[in-house]
């Protein structure tokens, strides 16, 4: 797409793109390049000398079982967060899509968690489920669950997934609602006249028509689970107990900042970057398709 009416100017357009370009080059490309270079370097324990080691950092990573565990864990978290949050949000959106009295109010009461910051989400949930003072933990113990997410890795992971999924409900709800409202009523009415009951109508008409939205949200949720859960994890468990809640992004942070292992941290960053590129690519393929519909 090109505009027909344009301005002629030699220098002005450069001046207009200059601020954006300067920031992008200085804070995006230069550091990304540094990360790539750093990932090929090995620093001795005292940071006195560095040597070029080709793919040594990468090979070390893949030899390290902890890294594989972090990959698996990250994918498991993403999957669990996306599925639980998407299904609950879809249920709510289908209900809110019905012509109900007060649907605007419902909408307002459901969308605000979008605005809550991940660390605050973490604080809210750790408080409710804190083993010694949490109000829900109290009831869990009352029914005989040995609840202590500060010591039990699986329970800590459950806690992270719950909190992260909770925050994402509102976002998914909004997109599902928009998707549902774009489905022509006439199609559903035709199915109803043909004698399809509501459940059947949902699975044979609504759900397939909603599938582009579902796929889009799946990708967005995975990206969210990869990156935006950092704040939740850092406030709730700091990757522990053990390494049971350490995701890939958290590992970049803890290996680099806390462990001082810059080469490995940089190699992990580069791998993550490749993953983001793939995910963004998928997202755009999808968006382009949606535009040409």
């Amino acid at each position: 797409m090109q505009k027909q009416a344009i301005f002629q100017s030699r220098l002005l357009p450069y001046a207009l793109v200059a601020p954006q370009l300067a920031i992008v080059l200085l804070f995006f490309y230069w550091p990304a390049l540094q990360a790539v270079i750093q990932s090929f370097l090995l620093q001795d324990a005292f940071g006195l000398s560095t040597s070029f080691v080709w793919f040594e950092n990468y090979l070390d990573l893949f030899r390290e079982p902890a890294y594989f565990e972090a990959i698996l864990r990250t994918f498991f978290f993403s999957f669990a967060i996306a599925v639980s949050s998407l299904s609950f949000a879809l249920l709510l959106a289908v209900m809110a899509d019905k012509p109900l009295r007060g649907s605007m109010l419902y909408r307002t009461l459901l969308i605000w968690p979008y605005a809550v910051a991940p660390p605050v989400v973490g604080v809210l949930w750790i408080f409710m489920l804190h083993p010694s003072l949490g109000i829900i933990a109290r009831y869990l113990r009352a029914i005989g669950v040995d609840w202590n997410p500060l010591l039990d890795g699986d329970q800590a992971a459950t806690l992270i997934i719950l909190a992260a999924a909770w925050k994402q409900i509102s976002y998914n709800f909004l997109f599902f609602l928009a998707g549902l409202q774009s489905i022509p009523r006439s199609v559903l009415e035709a199915a109803a006249i043909d004698g399809a009951r509501p459940m059947r109508r949902f699975w044979t008409v609504t759900f397939p028509l909603l599938s582009p939205t579902i796929f889009f949200l799946l990708v967005v949720n995975i990206v969210y689970a990869f990156f935006d859960t950092f704040g939740i994890i850092d406030t709730m468990t700091r990757g522990g107990p053990g390494k049971s809640t350490e995701t890939l992004v958290y590992k970049v942070y803890s290996d680099g900042l806390l462990g001082g292992n810059l080469g490995s941290s940089a190699a992990q960053s580069v791998i993550l970057m490749v993953m983001v590129i793939v995910l963004t690519g998928i997202q755009f393929r999808f968006v382009e398709r949606k535009v040409t519909y």
């Binding site: 009416a5 301005f7 002005l12 357009p13 450069y14 207009l16 793109v17 601020p19 954006q20 992008v24 080059l25 804070f27 490309y29 550091p31 990304a32 990360a35 750093q38 709510l92 209900m95 019905k98 012509p99 307002t108 009461l109 459901l110 605000w112 605005a115 910051a117 660390p119 605050v120 604080v123 809210l124 750790i126 408080f127 409710m128 010694s132 003072l133 109290r138 409900i169 976002y171 909004l174 997109f175 559903l188 009415e189 109803a192 509501p198 889009f216 967005v220 950092f230 850092d234 406030t235 970049v252 900042l257 940089a266 960053s269 993550l272 970057m273 963004t280 968006v287 949606k290 535009v291």
Partner: protein, 282 residues
């Protein structure tokens, strides 16, 4: 719909209220905790009804801070967060709209490469280039400054794309008309294009303000001084690992205060927010 009467409608209302209850419960508990006595909470005897310490706790939170982990008053942290969020939102809109203008309304060498250079940044989230970016900001002596908090986050590929998309829908006649009136490119931008973009800018502002206010990893890395802390970083520092020292009512009051501005923006600007959200995703 044909059979959408009676019973099914009640079920829908009930499910929605259950959903709202699940979504609101953690915040209710946080509010209740912020009004109760610390000793009571520490003993695990918190009740489900608000206590009588509301004014006391919030006064201490905003003006004094905790007595242990971080002594900074939360009022100051909120100010830092506010400055950061405003700088990010305004900065992103400003530099995106002018670069979108250049790309849409001018033909110049390297136009498309520049567009792609901006576009590809979508794939470089701050989390993956964190240390080198930190190093650059340190080398530029911008640690513990508002510039350091905002500048590295200010570029925006999505906003640029959005404005470019919008400019494409602006009729060419407008430009012809203002050219006949003797307006140059800057005049046209200022007098015609900016007023037309108002609703787009407002919708984007809502989203970007929340994005800025909720930043965590970046301020965590580059602020070392307590008085430069944002509220998101401050709240994390308040939860000390030894439980006995955590002043939960203050932590929960801080959580409530940290939620207030972005949630307020979402609820009040609902229409704009939804518009901005759906548009930025496209």
């Amino acid at each position: 719909m044909v059979e959408e009467e009676g019973f099914r409608r009640y079920v829908a209302h009930i499910i929605l209220w259950i959903g709202i209850a699940i979504v609101a419960f953690p915040v209710y508990i946080a509010f209740v905790a912020s009004t109760q006595d610390n000793a009571l909470i520490a003993n695990g005897q918190m009740s489900l009804l608000p206590g009588g310490h509301f004014f006391e706790t919030y006064y201490q939170t905003i003006f004094v801070g905790t007595s242990g982990s971080t002594r900074e008053p939360v009022g100051n942290m909120m100010l830092n967060s506010l400055v950061m969020a405003l700088l990010i939102a305004v900065g992103k809109i400003a530099i995106s709209i002018i670069s979108a203008y250049a790309i849409a309304y001018f033909r110049f060498p390297f136009r498309m490469p520049i567009f792609w250079i901006i576009f590809i940044t979508l794939m470089l989230p701050v989390e993956v280039r964190i240390y080198p970016t930190y190093k650059i900001v340190a080398d530029l002596h911008m640690l513990d400054s508002y510039a350091g908090l905002a500048l590295p986050l200010i570029a925006s590929a999505t906003a640029t794309l959005l404005f470019r998309q919008f400019f494409m829908t602006v009729p060419d006649e407008l430009l012809e008309a203002s050219r006949i009136d003797g307006a140059g490119p800057l005049r046209f931008f200022w007098d015609t294009l900016l007023p037309l973009s108002r609703t787009n800018m407002a919708a984007l502002f809502v989203i970007l303000f929340i994005l800025g206010w909720n930043q965590y990893l970046w301020p965590l890395l580059i602020t070392t001084r307590d008085d430069m802390q944002t509220i998101q970083v401050g709240i994390r520092k308040m939860i000390t690992t030894t439980d006995a020292l955590t002043e939960w009512p203050i932590v929960m009051a801080t959580a409530m205060l940290a939620m207030l501005p972005p949630v307020f923006v979402v609820v009040v600007m609902q229409k704009l927010f939804v518009r901005g959200l759906v548009e930025t995703e496209k």
